[in-house]
């Protein structure tokens, strides 16, 4: 076996240019496979990190039929004491006319409670977020986002200023950092947002009551969202006459898993295309091996005359095909490592990392090996089947 490999390397190195051209198909195929799959998995990792950063530990609860037992702010406070549940906060939005001095515009007002900032991972730029006391006292205070502060008041540090919402005077107590990472940020960017106590919104707006139809819940520190989700479902099922259709509990985990399945389909698809190019490369190898067998008919005759059995001739040509494949595979893997390094350097600004995954390298190596065997078998068998006298007198 070692002898066969040495012989194969010898005969390949005897014709380097041809060997390289033969390998080219495999090299390109391997590079396509490794690079494409690595790019997809790199991008997937990035998207997943983004999803995780925008709070995949929170869930949205919607109650469509309260069966005469509406959920109230008091219920949320009670549930927050549950070990499996972290924080809970309502969020009802209304579009309102806003005025500050002579400036006016429309603004989205969210009626919510103090825990909302934690659940949505908001960052307070100046001042503070809403407090439980604000909610209890129906205070006319609001927290605005950076956009609202700069567009309405003119500067971000506007704590203490008063704005008019639907004609009610409301004091600004805090300014929030604009959230660029949020999944919905592309749809909201540039829009003005204000957060006021839920209880205040009930007074400002006619459509809002103390019956909550939608609220956000997150997992407790160190707890899992799945546990919180299970507990929440339990609590609501019990409360709403065992009717599981009366409410929905959905989390961003669902989004993550959708994303996962999309990217894995993409990886399989691209990998499949690369695999096709590998097979084409294999056909190229078969072609050249057939030419080689014809060219070396005389050599095969000599080898048979001095005692090589069919099996040995078969092995010799098969090993040669596999060695060509594996060399091409090695060059391809090395080349794709270089290309990935290059891409990572070029896009370093976007904070994406494209690493070669060990899995895809293993797949490439195994695939190349089998291609060598499958496409080497036919030419090798042709060589092995040659009758020694015919082969010996060929061209001589």
């Amino acid at each position: 076996m070692i002898q066969s490999i040495r012989m194969a390397i010898k005969s390949i190195s005897g014709n380097k240019m041809r060997a390289f051209l033969t390998m080219l198909g495999i090299i390109i195929g391997v590079m396509a496979l490794v690079i494409l799959v690595s790019l997809v998995s790199g991008a997937t990792g990035n998207v997943q990190a983004t999803i995780a950063s925008l709070g995949s530990d929170s869930m949205t609860v919607r109650v469509s039929d309260n069966k005469g037992r509406p959920v109230t702010l008091a219920d949320l406070s009670a549930w927050m004491d549950d070990d499996a549940i972290g924080k809970a906060a309502p969020a009802v939005s209304e579009t309102m006319v806003v005025k500050y001095g002579s400036t006016s515009g429309t603004l989205t007002v969210y009626g919510t409670t103090a825990p909302y900032a934690d659940i949505q991972k908001m960052t307070v730029l100046v001042g503070r977020f809403l407090k439980t006391a604000d909610v209890d006292n129906h205070s006319y205070v609001c927290v605005v986002n950076e956009t609202a502060a700069t567009e309405l008041v003119g500067y971000a540090d506007c704590v203490g200023e008063d704005i008019y919402l639907n004609g009610y005077r409301v004091a600004i107590v805090g300014v929030l950092k604009d959230d660029d990472n949020s999944l919905t940020s592309p749809f909201r960017s540039g829009s003005m947002i204000a957060y006021i106590p839920y209880t205040t919104l009930i007074r400002l707006s006619t459509g809002v009551t103390n019956e909550l139809s939608m609220f956000y819940v997150n997992a407790p520190d160190g707890g899992s969202l799945d546990d919180a989700k299970t507990r929440m479902t339990e609590l609501l099922t019990e409360r709403l006459d065992q009717d599981e259709d009366a409410f929905t509990v959905s989390s961003q985990n669902a989004l993550e898993s959708t994303m996962n399945s999309v990217t894995s389909v993409l990886a399989v698809l691209l990998g499949g295309i690369a695999a096709i190019s590998l097979i084409v490369g294999g056909i190229g190898i078969m072609n050249i091996m057939l030419v080689t067998v014809t060219e070396r008919t005389r050599e095969i005759g000599i080898r048979k005359a001095i005692g090589a059995s069919r099996r040995l001739i078969l092995l010799q040509f098969l090993v040669e095909a596999v060695v060509i494949c594996m060399l091409g595979c090695a060059i391809g893997i090395f080349g794709s490592w270089g290309v990935l390094q290059l891409i990572t350097t070029v896009v370093s600004g976007i904070d994406l990392s494209f690493r070669m995954s060990g899995g895809v390298v293993l797949v490439a190596v195994i695939f190349c090996f089998f291609i060598g065997i499958v496409f080497g078998l036919y030419p090798a068998n042709k060589a092995a089947r040659m009758a020694p006298i015919d082969a010996l007198h060929y061209g001589g």
Partner: protein
């Protein structure tokens, strides 16, 4: 050592049936140096293929070193070639990518001889043809006579029962040819059985015995 009895072999070339061997019988004793002489087209190549187990006869008996060679599969024939026969061809038939040493070593690799023993046998064979100084050269770097000596070394390294030479001097000038014949004489004196096929009477008569072949029929000729 080697017995052929009523060997027949026919070829079909297009519509024509060529009777290459017609009830040929032949006997060669161990240690004998026999030449087979005949003009081209006389069937001597066919005879050589059958003796060399490169081909099998249509009918008749062939005993080589006590073993009947009949209806063997190709693999069994390869085994017989590997163990019992050393070929020397007119056109040398060395493998161009391998050095002289590697060419001589090849049949021993096929016989699965151990590496240390292989080395000893290759060196011994190369010494007997006086070519140890050029053993790391490729065939293309050797003269015709040297190439033929490598081929002889390859044949004897395998320790065959029979050395089968097909026009070994055919591609060489007469002086080099005589050198090669000297090697065959040496091998004969050392106890090897040699069958030499030629069309040249001056080569044939150097053997103990000459066998004439014409139109597929074999007859012994006195020299």
């Amino acid at each position: 050592m080697l017995t052929l009895k009523d060997i027949c072999k026919t070829y079909r070339i297009g519509d024509e049936v060529v009777r290459a061997l017609d009830h040929a019988s032949l006997h060669v004793n161990a240690g004998e140096f026999v030449s087979i002489i005949g003009p081209s087209g006389s069937g001597k190549s066919t005879l050589m293929n059958i003796i060399g187990c490169l081909d099998t006869a249509d009918s008749g008996e062939y005993l080589l070193d006590g073993t009947p060679i009949e209806d063997y599969t190709e693999n069994e024939l390869a085994m017989v070639r590997s163990r019992k026969i050393g070929f020397v061809f007119q056109s040398f038939n060395l493998i161009p990518q391998l050095t002289a040493y590697e060419n001589v070593e090849l049949p021993l690799i096929y016989q699965r001889v151990k590496k240390s023993e292989r080395k000893a046998r290759v060196m011994d064979a190369l010494q007997r043809v006086q070519l140890t100084s050029r053993m790391h050269h490729l065939p293309s770097e050797l003269s015709g006579g040297q190439q033929q000596r490598v081929a002889i070394a390859r044949a004897i390294a395998a320790h065959p029962a029979l050395i089968l030479a097909d026009e070994p001097t055919g591609n060489l000038d007469s002086h080099t040819g005589q050198d090669i014949m000297e090697i065959f004489h040496d091998l004969h004196h050392a106890g090897n059985t040699i069958v030499l096929i030629t069309h040249d009477p001056s080569v044939a008569k150097q053997a103990d015995r000459a066998i004439h072949i014409l139109d597929g029929k074999v007859s012994e000729v006195a020299l």
